[in-house]
């Protein structure tokens, strides 16, 4: 069963084609890496899938809903965490959880259970009343991810979630991603770190608005005769014509 299906999805801004006829399918519970150099069209593609931007042409079904007509439904069934920090620094840990729980319409009972569960999993029980801006960055990112999936969405979109985080914390962050995936939440992640690309089930690489390659990391490495994903990425990104 696919949770994301796109067919020749295109977005143009005037004469500029930011996303050029991309077609792919993502299965339920899959960890899907969405790679590309800056300006390759990743963010625009992701915005269309989140229901924030209406495509120029092509088709896209996200979580069973059409991106043209049912963006409100899509928003209810996805989670989102951006490269910029997604929580409010001047709110306490539990206040942030309650806010997003409230926005996604969780019942009081479910919200209380979720809060306890989440704080327990993240080992943040002692920090319940701490203002988020005084937490270390790694903890913030983990908290932000957990809050992004507080409503058990079908898909969670992560836009460079581990920017500026040290390797150890990144590793821990990926453990959370695996847990979410085990709970059948599809993870759609963009990243600049090629070691993270190796953790994905499948990886797509965008160049100049088109999906140039899409497969499992091991197949990609064989196809492009590379030792690691960095090699694959370099040989593809070199073809890019347009800059940043």
């Amino acid at each position: 069963m696919y949770v994301i299906e796109t067919d020749r999805l295109t977005k143009q801004f005037g004469n500029f084609t930011a996303v050029d006829q991309i077609s792919f399918k993502v299965s339920s519970g899959e960890i899907f890496g969405f790679l590309g150099a800056n300006g390759a069209g990743k963010t625009t593609a992701m915005r269309m899938l989140c229901g924030l931007s209406i495509p120029t042409s092509g088709k896209a079904i996200v979580a069973g809903f059409d991106v043209y007509k049912e963006s409100e439904q899509i928003k209810k069934h996805i989670g989102y965490m951006s490269q910029k920090f997604s929580l409010y620094g001047d709110l306490k840990v539990w206040e942030n959880i309650r806010l997003f729980g409230g926005i996604y319409g969780l019942s009081r009972k479910r919200l209380a259970d979720k809060t306890d569960e989440l704080l327990h999993t993240l080992d943040l029980e002692k920090e319940r009343n701490t203002l988020v801006h005084s937490l270390p960055l790694g903890w913030k990112q983990k908290l932000a991810f957990s809050v992004a999936i507080i409503h058990d969405p079908k898909i969670v979109f992560l836009d460079e979630p581990t920017g500026g985080v040290d390797p150890v914390t990144r590793r821990q962050f990926w453990e959370l991603i695996y847990e979410a995936s085990a709970r059948d939440i599809t993870v759609f992640v963009t990243t600049h770190y090629m070691d993270e690309a190796e953790y994905c089930n499948r990886v797509s690489i965008m160049v100049d608005g088109r999906v140039e390659a899409l497969d499992t990391p091991s197949v990609l490495k064989t196809t492009y005769h590379a030792d690691n994903m960095n090699g694959v990425f370099q040989s593809l990104a070199r073809k890019a014509i347009r800059g940043e």
Partner: protein, 363 residues
Amino acid sequence: MKQFISFIRKEFYHIFRDVRTMIILLVIPIVLIILFGYAITTEIKSSPFAVLDYRRDDVTAKLIEQLQASEYFELYKIVDSYDEAETLFRQGKIRMLVSAPQPSKEGVIGIEVDATDPNEATALLQYATAIISTSDIVMRNPDIQIAQPGIMPTVNLLYNPQMKGAYNFVPGVMGLILMLICAMMTSVGIVREKELGTMEVLLVSPFKPVYIVLAKATPYLLLSVINIITILLLSRFLLGVPIVGSFTLLFSVSILYALVSLCLGLLISTIADTQQAAMLISGMALMLPVILLSGMVFPIENMPWILQLFANIVPAKWYIIAVKNIMIKGLPAEAILKESGILLFMALFLTVVSVKRFKIRLE
């Protein structure tokens, strides 16, 4: 509804946990009222004057006494020659000279004022003329006339008999503060979310953009209600400005004006990308016109026509007129139909424009 409440609660946390915001909300209104009520005043108090006395009889003595008795004037010196008086004028020691001629000559009492500040000069002239012409000793001496206007007008000051500056400034300060809180704070609040990146997260959530904006504006609307009440209490009991007209009416027109300000704030938030830019735009494009072009400090009637024309699009102008009509003159609702109509039109127009722009920004 539940989403809405969670969101408004969050906004209040932002407000209460930010010292800068709290200062703007709580301290600035009080400071402005006190500043305009006491420090920045156009009232005349204890202006120094000199007397050039050729008459040297009880008439002059009586006049000096009566001028002194008013709180407007204070005798600086009795001079012996016109040259001496002129020197004092030049040195800025005196603002006014009263000359009493010898009874044998034409019995004209002369008043001369330093007109460097024309507003002050006019006021001094009026006060002095009024005091001298109504003085019983002058009335009993038909040979004495005042060198001032040939026809002596009867002065009757309507609505503000003591000519208190606060009557003019309180409505102005209300216009300023509501604009400050509703427009500046709302625009900065929305732009901050854009800057931090949390706006994206909110837009991806099922919470509709319209509600994001409404939820942002609601706390500021509530706080401005508190501020309206604070200002009215301060002006009533501290500055002694009465509320002659209907309180409900005054309150309603204030809310209408607050809504216009909120819409302006929203519009600014769609233009500005950083909090500093939002602050600067609201400062330059909103605060300055409120202070300079609303009639709060400078009378609009005295401006060149192009500025008068421009003043018409400053919402504060209409609000201040309406507040004065209700609060000071005690007029009924019919008297502010035009002003409220214009404010209502502005609110609707700005809502349409900013909602449109807000949508474009989302694309």
